[in-house]
Amino acid sequence: MNKTIAIAIAIFALGFPQSATAWEGMCRVLEDDRGGRISKLESNICEEAELEACEPGLGYARGAQLGEHTWLTRIAMQNAGLGLEWQEGPIVFQAPRPGVQPSLQNGYYTAGENFRGTELKSLEPSDAGRMYAWTRRELTIPEVSEIADGSSSFSEYILGNEHCLTPNIRSATLAQLNRCHTFEGHLSAINSTHWPPLALEMYKLYHRTALNIADRCKKMKAALPLGADHVHGYMLDLAKSCEREAFAHQSYASHFLQDAWSSGHMFVRWGPPSHGATPAEQFRETIPAMITGIIHGTKSVTHNDDQMCMPGPRRPGKLDEVVLWRNGVGPLNAGGGDLYLRSCEERKNNAEYGSVTQGSELTIQRQRMITCLAHGFREVYDAAQMAPDQSFQFGPDTYEIAPRDPRYSESGECWNQRVTNRSMMLGLGVTKFGIVLQAEDYAAPEFLTRFGLDYGAIEAEDLRRLGVSEEVFDQEALRLRYVLGRLSMIYSARAEEAADGTSLAQMVIDDRRANAPPDEELRKIFGRYRSGEPIVDWNGAHVEAIKKDEVPFFEKNDLTSWESSARMDAECSIDADCQAGELCDPSIVDGDGVVSRCIRHEAPLLRAFRAAETVHWCTHDTWDELNAARRACKEGQGPDACDACVAMVLPRLRNACDGGMQGFPPSQRTRLGSICDHYQQSALTLHPDPVHAYVHVPFEPKDGEDLWAATVRAAREACLAGPERLPPTINYNFDSEPPATAQTAGLVGNSYRFAAMCGRADDSTHWHRFRWPGGQGDGTIHINLRPSTYNLGGGGTEPAYPYTAPVEEISLAVFRGPRCDVSSDLLMEGVPADSDGDGVADTLRIPWAVYDQTPEEVCIRITAKTTTVRSGYTVVISADPLF
């Protein structure tokens, strides 16, 4: 190993704060995180609150995010007209919990276990097979804008940082897992997504997801039934959850827009968005990351003011030390960035350059940044509204954009700001050297080529253990110095020749070609492979990878392609058994059991936002999954398991007897109370008519409860009843012709039971066909029809509650098959009878004897005698042996 590379004994970096990322994220431990966290924001940023910092990784996902990103997002939301409820309430995971008080709570269902034997509760949202515990999770929408610095995707954060979704990174031990989620550990090498042009692609990914979710929220509101309908309130709560999900994604997107407005990020950089396949490649990627860090500024590491994030000159009056930016050929503006958002103690008397938000010279940067951020939120807000308020005025921290551009937050005015060539030179240098140097010499080659790499691990063998040979280490240490020397030469020259140009920030040397693609000389400054491809390319080379979903740990661009189902052929025991972008989930329902299978990482996100994503779950929850939740409830997994089951069953609960109502016209289906039916009616669900997605339970209000309370009770009773056999596919529509084939399902014990047909239709004749299997000896077949009140909701001018027709108004007839010809095959007609001995005929009855062992195929016709009759009924077909 080269002697210039000092081997130190101490692992020094453990004492360092997190290295510079962008606007500084500040995760803090809050003992009681119920509300009020935003009030600690200002004092925390200036380190007056003295709150305990979070442990990295797992701790990060469990702490409060009280840094500069959160501050900016809050102000942006304020200027976008989103009130305190949106800014300060910990509402990201707020969802209605039917039958639980209070009805709106923050959290989602998990397995209720501790993570890997630690004392930390797992935050991983569970699939239906293990939704045993409601896990509280409090997070405000502004805080979401900070998490991209501690998790590689929104999903990873929702998973509690309990999985490392970035490929090629070891995460078997807790220490390795935590490193996956720290800037110093692994994130710094791949945070090229926080610089343009990749930052714009990241913004588009999450902003457009937010817009698409918001559009769905609008449709969920459009699907709301009339205000008097019993599901109206719950569906409104679901739509509000949807809006929270949309704004949470916008907040995540805002991180990248905020980064683009930190002067320390107003340049394109080198580096990929994901790790290389081998440790050697990954080590090479740390070198451009380190050089980017040098340019960006090192205050978070050294605590020293260091251009280019610092507003104003380091020395009073030295205006040539001021970092400047401009958009295209627009005017020059003073800039500032990370760790300089607020004028804390040491800068509060600096009225001109105290901070980005309080320095008078940084007004333009501040206004433009807040304007872009506020427009981003407003674009999502407008997408979620039935009728956007065109007269809305943005807040006082913005400037007016006229005419309004509905895609303003993605426009060049929000993304093309670049620092000047002189600022790039200042950034490359070490500002603190200014004690002995002029600003022009900060980045002098004489100094930069004497920068050595000092690896804090103990011996070379430690590097080898990590997969980096001494040869590779020496090579990269040399590369660092060489690249710094060349950059120093280029930057220093350009800073003199075209100080106010912005070509260097575009990785272009000559300002006459400022808008050209990056120069090969700069783009390939880290060397190239024999193929000619750069070892480490500029980050813009990876734009297409994000557009095409080729970075597996980012959420997919197309919301409709988010998959919650497991790959059932992908058995797993750990994440490494799964493909990139997947994790191993032990809560997958398979038949009557629960197994481990690989799932896409969007699945936990969909689970955490189950209420907001009801439209998705209406068509993705399977019958087995519903049964798993019902089984968990029945078998005593605890009250939360039953609540989880209710949350699953409720949206698909039809006040009906069986799936026969699927054949009803949609307008009649929605009248029967299923929320999924309402969405289906509004063309919101993704798949047509998923018969088995519904749970059919006939119920009526009782004991003074209203219809909604009865609905929730019915859902709970269904859960407590446990699993249900897959119901037959039955078309109970009022067919004028007998079915062509027999219904073979419905045999229970020695009887057939056709549950009640509910509701009415224009044709008042209804047919059943069934096949008596025979072979049971001689006996009597009984067909009993009893009218019932099941499933007759009111609506419009109709009676508010069910109506039961007397048996006199119903005709029951049996025809012998196989043709069931009405003119020739009539076997018998029903006779009114009193089944309960109260002297009132309440049943139509047809008994007939069978004397052979052969199967008997018959048809039953039920007809209303007048067109105004509507009634539910139950038909029970049973047999009594004669001998």
């Binding site: 000092a6 130190a8 692992i11 970096a13 453990l14 360092f16 070891r170 490193r179 720290t182 110093e184 550990g185 692994h186 710094s188 490649e281 990954q282 740390t286 040098i294 090192t298 590491v301 050294t302 020293n304 205006l319 001021v322 400047l324 005017p331 020059l332 503006n333 003073a334 010279e361 333009i364 603190k432 002995v436 002098a444 080659p445 100094f447 930069l448 080529t449 004497r450 920068f451 050595g452 790499l453 000092d454 690896y455 804090g456 691990a457 430690d462 090579q475 040399l478 590369r479 110095r481 060489y482 020397g485 120093s488 030469m489 220093s492 020259a493 020749e497 106010d500 060397g527 492979y529």
Partner: protein
């Protein structure tokens, strides 16, 4: 006067001045070339060093990150570093110093750069070979930047430099 306005005025003035100088002078400007700014000191003052964290060799740690999350990968300033690459940096620094003292072409200033004792290079100087190479390229029609790249930046004029960086400049395959 706000910074933006001052900066705009300065920018406009400097652009005008550069344009004027280019039109009026070209590479044979009548103005006397200014010598490069003085060489920079190798040592940093103790108060500068003290303002940074230091490793066990007393070197200031200017930046820090990790690889694979273990140990720390630290960028230090090593004032004792003296190899062909460091001497190449010394020579590049002299060219940069010419930019500081001259507006427009710096070919005249380059002629005034301190010559090192031999082709190994040294502190605050360039080997004469580098300047000769620059002159040859510049006079053969290459632009000033091309001539600087082919001589000083290429570094073939500094003994041992090309050999030292061969490992990183040649095409590699992992």
């Amino acid at each position: 006067m706000g910074l933006q306005r001052r900066a705009r005025l300065f920018g406009a003035f400097s652009s005008f001045a550069i344009s004027f100088a280019l039109v009026a002078c070209g590479s044979t400007c009548a103005g006397e070339p200014q010598p490069p700014a003085p060489p920079l000191p190798r040592d940093l003052p103790p108060e500068v060093i003290a303002s940074f964290p230091q490793n066990d060799r007393g070197q200031p740690i200017l930046h820090s990150t990790r690889f694979a999350g273990e140990g720390s990968l630290r960028l230090v300033y090593d004032r004792d570093l003296d190899d062909p690459l460091a001497r190449w940096g010394q020579c590049l620094g002299r060219v940069v110093a010419c930019y500081r003292t001259n507006e427009g072409p710096i070919d005249g200033c380059i002629e005034l750069i301190e010559r090192c004792a031999d082709d190994r290079g040294g502190e605050g100087c360039c080997p004469a070979q580098c300047i000769d190479e620059f002159r040859a390229k510049n006079s053969s029609g290459a632009s000033e930047k091309e001539a600087i790249d082919a001589s000083f930046v290429h570094g073939g004029c500094i003994r041992g430099f090309r050999e030292q960086i061969a490992a990183i400049e040649t095409e590699v395959e992992l």
